[in-house]
Point group: C3
Chain length 370, copies 3
């Protein structure tokens, strides 16, 4: 049956072999990494998302969409609780007429009886046409893809957030929101983008940065506490892709000096979930930094004077206090649009994987929706 | 963005402003309170429920219904476990072709990460077209409605039981069952209705009493232990609406004296759930009353001689021992019909909120089903 | 309202009265026992499963199937966790266009409030057209069937595994896989079938053996530790049905002596779940036997030389180490097909119960698929 898990895991780190393993028929089949998509694929996904969003507004368009994946079944295998991500995937599948099951308690499956991950995934996959997986273990999604890569009945696997490192569909929806916001202003190329908060441990921020390497942003500005600044691996990756990167530790100073230059500010929360969790050692000063320095990474209401009115204001949610309600009045506030975009982008991903993207875009064009 | 939560909460207590906030386009949009409906709205809901029930019996009628909310998505956000209420709503949505998600463990959402209720509700609502909420906190449903009232993407909210005080859809189905039972006997007006059990803490009994104020029942007779008799607020409200109210503490005596006058007996369980719960202090003598006096509120088999054969016998379920199986032989026993009516009434509510009620009733009339 | 539970339970043990209680309109209505089906019914179920499987491969066939139970609602009431069985039933219902609800935590229903099983089942059944039940209590499925047998709104009940004794749909899918494997080789009659592992406590193995009594297998060979060999009741039942039965305790010896004669080997796991469970006393030497003797019931890779290449290799899953991956290369390895067959057989069962089996088989024949 061919390739071992270790070979598979290593091969997908390498650009050339990666596409061979993760794509089929020239389309993504296993969706595991933000960096697996080409620029063309990313633009295609965005256009498909827009087409779906606009078709959904009209009765005929909705009926057209509901036939796309009719009879198709999606399993959402969520070992790690995340209601909103799961519901976003389920809504996306619904829009295309597919049915979804949510399997959220792994203890109720046979994992607990000593079965291998490969057997469990293959067994459950027997009843479905696509699997969406979310798991605290960084490698689970890759293991699932490997098990199905080798199976005689292969079905696509989409990672919905794997451990600490990647959250590929969040990155896709964030990128889509950015691109859509700049659509009539030259796109993402040349734009100055600030990413604020706990960049070191935020999967969404990290995954978005990886996607940006497929384009030519004018600069990426990380603003985070010293303890939670982006690691050297991420910074090196961005610089190898010729992205201008800056790292600073004061949001106020950054905005005073460069605020008017910024085209987008991507706010994130100073996260606590991973502290003392199973996935790693908490940094000794984590608590101090969160409680003490936390307010330094709040986009305070009065900062509005320091940024342009056309600056895009984003946040992956949930937020605590770092992006006050007052910002909802700012013309560039697109946080609620991001949430809806998650649904459209995930629908675009399903459609793309199953070869229906072109048909959808063609229909939208014919109806003058694009 | 206008109104504060405190203003919203207060305004919906007031009849005039209430309709302005809870209705849209002349239809209920937020369903929070039993007393929010006018007599005409209640009669319309009942007629729509009957139309749906009858259309569902025939293949063509079923197909017609399945198109009503096709592509529509309902979220059932149930913080408080209640399988049967949730399944009743899901079945109701299914009958009209809508799809449902059940989000029952709030801990798996981002509430746990310190997010505000408003943010959580708005985020989850992004993937849905209607929200049904059930929560032990009396105010949760109101908070959800307020969050969506202010949102740019407003969707309807239906309370499926909020804390100790209201259970509006149970009251609607109970009222529907009463009205249907009396349909060829002059309706609810003039009827003598006994409500037996723990009226003080039973949401269903309390909510039904509130709905009855929109009509002219001949009298409402509460029969309950002294500790659990209706509070002064409820009694005052009923009397202000010119309902004749009696309160007694012996079921046997009430039946011996007035049993032949009764048109309906609404039995309830002496509840234990709230005792010592988070929502309030248990009364000091709660336990005594339940264990000792409980049997005084059982509709014993031999009481059948004390009531008319056309007296309607109801119970919101679950029952323990207060309504023995032997009553199933009584011609007025409609308890199982109540359960099914819950499904039809909830479907009628969905249809009404989304403006499809008239179309449904018209179709049923055209087919001579009404 | 007739029959008491004790009468019902006793009557279904008796062949003649059983059919009267469990069948309606000449079709199975309550599916509780492997031995309730006649040979003709079993063959009909298999043919229907094949028809569904083949129709599902084509767009027209899929659309035809999706209309079979359109608007129909299935409740999966799973008190005992079993993700894969539940998902198999849900997928089966989906294939025929029915919608499913999974109620997996009985504590969230009113059972916890002191309600009777009969009331709970009748209430929940009000929202559905079929109930699938799984419960650790051997009698729960029978109680549910009895409650609905007496109800004015009877709906079918399918047992999805009841306590320790029966797993009727697993037995049906295993039988289907056997029959399909031997379809062009004379069917199940005359075949030599080995059942290996913890036969005493394995519901699947036990239930399959019961179904085989409706046919004329050449012999059934049980291979198990002495502690877990089939009990006298099962052996007596098989012998009364004129099945040649052998019992041995060494897999290696059995294969060396008889391996080339075997037409099928049905492997099972040495189970631990029931040890110390609520349903019975663990045998004193259970642990010893599992840890010590376990490897004696592994189908070791080198045993391949002892069996024919056309021997059918089965396992109900999950497996631990008793059926190594290397067997996937053997031409008779049908374990993954078994999993898919579970879905097709459960769809066939739904169709049969609701009277659609003949229509499905006729359609498949007309399209030359059978």
């Amino acid at each position: 049956m061919g390739i071992s898990y270790e070979e598979f895991r290593e091969a997908i780190q390498d650009g050339a072999r990666r596409r061979q393993l993760l794509n089929r028929d020239g389309r993504p089949f296993f969706v595991l990494l933000s960096q697996q998509f080409s620029r063309e694929e990313l633009e295609g996904l965005c256009d498909t998302a827009t087409a779906i969003r606009r078709l959904d507004r009209h009765r005929d368009g909705r009926e057209f969409l509901l036939a796309i994946l009719r009879g198709h079944r999606v399993m959402n295998l969520f070992a790690q609780p995340s209601t909103r991500t799961a519901q976003s995937f389920i809504a996306a599948a619904d829009k295309l007429g597919a049915t979804s099951s949510l399997v959220s308690d792994m203890r109720t499956s046979s994992f607990a009886k000593g079965e291998s991950v490969a057997d469990s995934v293959r067994t459950l996959s027997s009843f479905f046409d696509t699997i969406v997986v979310r798991h605290p273990d960084d490698e689970f999604a890759t293991q699932a893809a490997w098990a199905l890569y080798r199976s005689q009945r292969s079905i696509p696997v989409i990672s919905a957030g794997s451990g600490k490192s990647q959250h590929v569909t969040q990155a896709l929806l964030d990128f889509y929101t950015l691109r859509y916001s700049f659509y009539e202003h030259g796109g993402v190329d040349g734009k100055q983008i600030a990413i604020v908060g706990d960049v070191a441990r935020n999967r969404a921020a990290r995954s978005l940065a990886l996607i940006l390497t497929k384009f030519r942003p004018g600069g990426v500005h990380f603003v985070s506490p010293q303890n939670f600044q982006p690691d050297d691996e991420l910074l090196g990756y961005l610089r190898r892709h010729e992205i201008t990167v800056e790292v600073s530790h004061s949001l106020e100073n950054t905005l005073r000096e460069r605020g008017r230059d910024l085209d987008a500010i991507y706010m994130t929360r100073l996260q606590k979930e991973w502290d003392g969790g199973t996935a790693g050692q908490p940094k000794a000063d984590a608590k101090t930094s969160e409680l003490g320095a936390g307010d330094d990474y709040v986009l305070r209401t009065e900062f509005r004077l320091l940024v342009r009115e056309d600056c895009v204001i984003m946040h992956p949610l949930p937020r605590i206090n770092e992006l006050p309600d007052s910002w909802e009045e700012h013309p560039g506030f697109v946080v609620w649009r991001q949430v809806r975009n998650g649904m459209w982008m995930r629908a675009a991903l399903f459609a793309t994987i199953h070869g229906a993207a072109e048909e959808i875009r063609a229909r939208a064009k014919r109806l003058d929706l694009m």
